[in-house]
């Protein structure tokens, strides 16, 4: 693991939203060219981590280095440049532009960022759509797509500019098994074919384990486990194992912290 | 095809705006093309304006030939100075033209009425009208009437 080069490197990240501390000195490296799944209980701010890496949120302190650039210190213009050239992000809902059809959605980044002639844009768009298997759906509107198709179109759109890093925000949520299978296959294929660095936020243990090279477990504002799925399943600490196996009680208690049950019941009488 | 019709409708919208503006200009406000700029300014002292406003009409024989553009107090003489724009085509006002502040109807707006004199020289831009007659102020009129009555009695 140490031999691998880190594409995204986070050091001592602290981030709070209002009064609530979300990350407390988080440090992690995401290796280049691999799929890393970021997992953890709901509400630990996994999506927030993606937004921090994308520069949409600013950390309170700490450093986030993507492709050798310190994201929080970039000027607005440089940040847009970095996103344009290096990053792609797939949102949970797909986030397709509702006023454009499938073709124009995928063409959007190309038309905005390049001066390519329309014929070349057409070729590129059809290539990307073919990759996600939706070349035939080019004239549909986003409203006519199913959830899985919308996500595949969005995937085609996020790889339109050939990024080096792609971030998936909950790519499996709310999909039927077939669509889920398609997305899993696409993520794996794209990673192999394009040599992408992929970050994937999910709580689907099974799917994540099946495609991720590494798992990164986040809880309580810190990384509690990092390694290949196999390593973590067997060698991780109790909390890691509880999460991966989906046990209802363990280091993360079933009960929300409360006074002793017996005392509480008895105290009711005095009320 | 659909895009073409969108642009077409927006174009129609713009044209409607321009048509509305043109109607406003010519049909509603009676703007005529030669109106702007073709004026010259003359000034006049008045003892009392009695409610004359900026933009009041300047008329001769009942025809509007200009507008009041500026009103201020002459501090040396304690009298009012009125500047008015006269249409360029009325360029033959003699230098002894007289100006009076008149009222349109009993309670109507005040305007300036010009009456031409006998001289052969004409007023030019920036000239003063010497012969002026102030507004009739109703209170003064009544006061004078009562005073006369009292003297008689």
């Amino acid at each position: 693991m140490a031999a691998e080069q880190a594409y995204v490197s986070i050091r001592d990240l602290t981030f709070s939203r209002g009064e609530r501390l979300i990350y407390d000195g988080l440090s992690v490296d995401f290796p280049k060219g691999k799929i890393t799944a970021i997992m953890g209980p709901s509400g630990t701010g996994k999506t927030t981590l993606l937004r921090l890496i994308g520069g949409q949120l600013l950390p309170d302190s700490g450093s986030i280095v993507v492709a050798g650039q310190e994201v929080p210190k970039l000027k607005r213009q440089q940040l847009f440049e970095l996103r344009k050239q290096k990053m792609g992000m797939l949102f949970q809902t797909g986030a397709l532009f509702t006023d454009l059809n499938v073709f124009d959605n995928v063409a959007f980044p190309l038309r905005t960022h390049t001066d390519l002639p329309e014929s070349m844009i057409r070729d590129l768009v059809l290539m990307k759509l073919e990759a996600v298997g939706l070349r035939g759906a080019r004239d549909l509107n986003p409203a006519e797509l199913s959830g899985g198709m919308a996500r595949r179109v969005a995937l085609a759109r996020s790889i339109a500019m050939d990024p080096e890093l792609i971030m998936y925000d909950e790519p499996f949520t709310g999909l039927d098994p077939i669509s889920m299978g398609m997305i899993v296959k696409l993520i794996r294929c794209l990673n192999k074919a394009l040599g992408l660095t992929s970050l994937l936020v999910s709580h689907d243990v099974e799917e994540s384990c099946s495609i991720a090279d590494y798992l990164c477990l986040v809880s309580g504002g810190k990384v509690i486990g990092f390694g290949t799925p196999n390593e973590l399943m067997h060698d991780g600490n109790d909390e890691v194992r509880q999460f991966l196996r989906g046990e209802p009680d363990g280091p993360v208690p079933f009960h929300y912290p409360a006074d002793d049950y017996r005392n509480d019941i008895l105290a009711g009488g005095e009320g | 095809m659909q895009k073409r019709s969108l642009e077409f409708t927006v174009g129609i919208f713009m044209v409607m705006g321009i048509v509305a503006l043109v109607l406003m200009a010519f049909r509603v406000s009676g703007l005529s093309v030669s109106d702007a700029g073709d004026t010259y300014t003359v000034k006049a002292h008045f003892e009392n304006l009695g409610g004359l406003n900026d933009r009041a009409k300047v008329s001769m024989a009942g025809v509007t030939i200009g507008r009041v553009t500026n009103i201020y107090l002459d501090k040396d003489w304690y009298s009012a100075v009125v500047e008015m724009e006269i249409n360029k085509d009325v360029d033959n006002l003699s230098i002894d033209t007289s100006a009076a502040i008149l009222t349109a109807g009993l309670l109507g707006e005040k305007y300036i009425g010009l009456t031409v004199g006998a001289e052969t020289d004409f007023l030019k831009d920036g000239d003063w009208i010497e012969d002026t007659q102030s507004a009739i102020v109703l209170e003064e009129l009544i006061g004078r009437f009562l005073f006369n009555k009292a003297e008689e009695g």
Partner: protein, 259 residues
């Protein structure tokens, strides 16, 4: 004590959103003229902001003009000066009702639609997606809408006044039998292009700017939930209407004097 704290927090919140909306306005206008996001986008927005409001503006203008004609007639006829009806209708429309009523209708029709649209784009992460593609949503989404609002509003107000004046003429000349020449002649004698028409246009420009600004800000700053969007839409109509009426007083005082 609690009440004072609430009051203070509300005050700070208001100043914060004023600052945030000013920055939004500054950033989206400084970074691009009307065509910065492509001329096509501006045309598209002109269609959804301007053309879509046209029918309500035309119908409302016609009725307002007719009502002004009727009401004015019943008052003026007592003084025997019903010939001044044209003046009354045209000045009222050009100086006041044209810009103001158009702005209020515009806030309800186009403003709320703008807020809902932008709020929905935010809720469905379209704005975030744009940012992550390295496209500035201010430039791409907000700027063309702001310009479209500012361009549409004076046109709509002019159309409103024009239709209203002809509506007044319909009532006065065709129904009440006022002399055609008196209606238009008195109007032309008392309406001046610079003082009435142009100042009315200035007013509607200002209103268009304020309404669109409030609408896009409310959408952009809305909570990305269905409840939040609903609230933001209501806020747009309420705040924009009040702002229009307040600004109208200020502009009237400055331009038509008296204060």
């Amino acid at each position: 004590m609690d009440r004072i704290r609430t009051l203070g927090r509300t005050g700070i919140g208001m100043i914060e959103s004023l600052g945030a909306s000013s920055m939004l306005l500054w950033n989206s206008l400084m970074w691009g003229g009307p065509g910065s996001a492509g001329f096509g986008d501006l045309v598209k927005q002109l269609f959804s902001v301007g053309v879509r409001s046209l029918s309500i503006i035309t119908v409302a203008g016609f009725f307002v003009g007719m009502v002004l004609g009727l009401q004015g007639y019943t008052i003026l006829v007592d003084f025997g000066s019903e010939a001044a009806l044209g003046t009354l209708v045209s000045l009222t429309l050009l100086r006041e009702l044209g810009p103001v009523v158009t702005a209020l209708l515009f806030a309800g029709r186009a403003g709320s639609a703008l807020t809902a649209e932008i709020g929905l784009m935010k809720a469905t992460e379209q704005l975030s997606a744009m940012e992550m593609m390295g496209v500035d949503p201010l430039k791409r989404v907000i700027t063309p809408r702001l310009w479209a609002g500012m361009i549409s509003m004076p046109i709509l107000a002019l159309i409103f006044s024009t239709v209203g004046i002809w509506g007044g003429a319909f009532v006065a000349v065709d129904m009440l039998g006022i002399d055609d020449g008196a209606y238009w002649g008195n109007m032309q004698a008392s309406v001046t292009f610079y003082n009435d028409v142009v100042k009315g246009i200035i007013k509607s420009l200002a209103f268009g700017w304020v309404v669109t600004w409030i609408a896009v800000y409310q959408g952009y700053a809305s909570m990305p939930t269905s409840e939040g969007i609903g609230k933001a839409t209501t806020q747009t109509v309420v705040i924009a209407s009040l702002a229009v009426l307040g600004l109208d007083f200020v502009l009237t005082a400055v331009m038509f004097g008296g204060v």
